[in-house]
């Protein structure tokens, strides 16, 4: 993905919403993720208090970034690493390219990094004739398929085992109908040689400690460890929001990230990187670079309401929980960060006018907020974006009149009862004569993709009153 194309959301979402095969694949993975997440949280003592604590760690860190970032830089440099600052995607790519070019690097192995997707690093390297190979199995699959990842944690969630087998048959000459084990073994074989030959490893950063300058890389496959151990140069890409104050803050974060992301107590591997190989160590990179990226994050930071979106750990739980994501998949969002959290941060990072549809890609059901390990109030933030988008558009006199009338009716119980009675009668007619709906353009537009609701024969307020009369204590 050379440039994020988030502006065609409606067309992509509509196409994906009709793709039953996609829905099956998304459900297979995301519902299992949700189930395993629920189990591991149920087994965690004081889970809710731990979420509060993790949120407090991030709240403190984000509000203290002005001191934590220079402190991280100072510690990381003292540990022998090099810190680079990038205002935007182009600067970040230029920094990585410069490091690679100076060292004569021809091949780059990459651990999983959402920032790298965000800045479209692979395209920048390819333009300079440097081969970049994704080594996380899911990322490797989507790279072979020539697609961007469609999920923060499971990049190839939109592909079935048969899809992957066909792809590996075509691109790697593997036998068709291979099992998941055989496909994984093929990737291991191909990528081993790449790890050994690469001059540079690129990884993301899940957390960084300002206290010690340690960068934390969380993964399951061992490809991250390969990328930050075997090549002579390790480049870590990090958004400004990843730093926390103290080493001891890492434990509560590491407790929640894998549980939320994959339902694991801890991932197979967590690397705490504090710099290049020491003289007495027999492997590890000679150079370690940290690229600290803004790319619109300070816009979120400057926004007191949206700021909490920077608490996000990129666990992907809100994607799995979202009924909209599970029907349209990650590609429809047109951006590296999809799902509910993507719909919150994309307007800030890309400019709200480019992705004004994304905050509407939600039913506001609140499932995302319920699973968020740091309790980001995503529905509230989506509503806030909607309010801002709406406020920026001049409204027609008809719409303004409609809203004013609604306000008057909703504030007066007698008027409200009269109005709902009229609606009930009107909907009963329309339900019998659907063609009538076409006569009212707003209703016709609303009805595309929606069913007309059936009104209860006796409205709630009446039943409630009768119930109160029947049992006066309100039980």
């Amino acid at each position: 993905m050379a440039a994020p194309a988030a502006d065609d959301f409606r067309a992509r979402a509509a196409a994906a919403a009709g793709d039953a095969a996609l829905h099956r694949k998304l459900d297979v993975a995301s519902l299992r993720f949700l189930d395993e997440r629920a189990q591991v949280f149920a087994a965690l003592p004081d889970a809710e208090a731990r979420r509060d604590r993790a949120r407090a760690v991030k709240a403190h860190a984000i509000a203290s970034l002005a001191t934590l970032l220079p402190q991280l830089e100072q510690r990381f440099t003292a540990n022998g690493g090099v810190v680079h600052w990038a205002r935007d995607a182009a600067e970040a790519c230029a920094i990585v390219l410069d490091i690679a070019t100076r060292a004569g690097v021809r091949l780059v192995v990459k651990g999983k990094s959402m920032v790298s997707e965000e800045i479209a690093l692979n395209a920048a390297l390819a333009a300079a004739d440097i081969e970049a190979v994704e080594t996380d199995l899911g990322e490797y699959i989507v790279q072979l398929a020539g697609e961007p990842p469609s999920h923060i944690i499971t990049p190839a969630i939109h592909l079935s085992q048969d899809d992957v087998a066909d792809l590996f048959a075509r691109r790697l000459g593997e036998p068709r109908h291979a099992t998941a084990e055989a496909l994984t073994a093929a990737a291991r074989r191909v990528l081993r040689t790449k790890f050994r030959a690469a001059g540079m490893g690129v990884t993301g950063v899940n957390f960084a400690s300002a206290e010690s300058g340690a960068l934390v890389v969380v993964e399951n496959e061992g490809n991250g460890r390969m990328a930050l151990t075997l090549p002579r140069i390790h480049v870590a890409l990090m958004g400004i929001e990843k730093v926390v104050a103290r080493d001891e803050d890492l434990a509560p974060m590491l407790e929640l990230l894998p549980r939320s992301a994959t339902g694991q107590s801890l991932t197979s591997y967590v690397s705490l990187v504090t710099g290049p190989r020491r003289p007495d160590e027999m492997d590890g990179p000679d150079e370690v670079h940290l690229v600290v990226l803004d790319n619109g994050r300070t816009r979120l930071l400057a926004d007191p309401i949206m700021r909490e979106a920077l608490y996000c750990l990129r666990c992907g739980a809100c994607l799995n929980a979202c009924p909209v994501y599970r029907r349209i998949g990650g590609h429809a969002y047109g951006y590296a960060y999809s799902g509910p959290i993507g719909a919150v941060i994309a307007p800030a990072l890309l400019g709200v006018e480019r992705v004004a549809d994304l905050p509407y890609a939600s039913t506001l059901c609140g499932a995302c907020r319920d699973v968020c390990p740091v309790r980001i109030d995503i529905p509230h933030l989506l509503l806030e974006w909607r309010a801002r988008i709406a406020a920026a558009v001049p409204r027609s006199w008809g719409e303004r009149l409609l809203v004013r009338a609604w306000r008057t009716i909703a504030a007066s119980p007698p008027l409200y009862h009269v109005a709902t009675g009229a609606m009930r009668a009107a909907f009963a007619v329309v339900a019998h004569v659907p063609a009538l709906a076409a006569l009212l353009p707003p209703l016709a537009a609303w009805r595309r993709g929606r069913e007309l609701p059936t009104f209860a024969t006796r409205p709630f307020h009446r039943r409630w009153r009768e119930r109160r009369v029947a049992s006066p204590d309100g039980a």
Binding site: V28, A29, R53, A56, V57, H60, A63, S64, A66, L69, W85, R87, T135, D136, G138, T154, A156, S160, Q161, A180, E181, L183, T184, R188, R192, N220, E221, G222, N223, R225, M226, T229, R232, R246, E248, D249, L250, A251, P252, T262, S265, L266, S268, Y269, V270, S271, V273, T274, G275, P276, R278, D280, D283, G284, V288, D294, T298, R299, L301, A302
Partner: protein, 235 residues
Amino acid sequence: MARKTVLDAVRDALADAVVPPLPRLARASAAPDRHVLAARFAREAGTVGTIVHEVEGLGAAISAVAAVLAATATSPRVVAWPTPLARTVATAAVAATPGASLHIVDDAATAPGRDPADDLAAVRAATTDVIAAADVGITEAEYLVADSGTLVLRAAGRARGVSLLPPVHVAVVACDRLVADLGAALAHLRATGARDSCITLVTGPSRTADIEKKLVVGVHGPCTLHVVLLAPPEA
């Protein structure tokens, strides 16, 4: 210039922000005794597919490792860390396994075929070649985290590749290295003033679920992880 722009933007953005207090983090109360920790470690490690061997005395540890070597390959090639316990156990276990060969990765200078004229990069590449060709890597964990079944591995004086490149990883560790939780392990490490370039937490074999959420072990790292948990012989 980018540095100043970014940091200025951060400062401006937070000009009116109130910094909330740092949360008080949960501390494990008194550390449970090592039998409780060992049982918890074995249970948690077992759930992620780590094979735990609880043994009493060095002789039993050597037998356990020798059995792993014999079961892995007919003439297993073994690489090991130079830390005292790993070296002792690896040396004896290899001696007890017919056809097994051992390379203790203790210094770049011992890499096979080294010419003094070689540059360091070439020597290190040769060392990594030996590690990558091995069937079994034997290491020693600095701590074992009971709550998550995790090994804490240091890098100082060692090769990280020994726990990463061979298909079988065996970690030997004395049971007095058991701690309750990750916070305790990190606090202990800090107290020692460790200056390693990398601390690695290992919880089970390398794994993925990237294809239809099906669990597959042995993606890039080891397919099998053994932990030999060594208790002193009961008096």
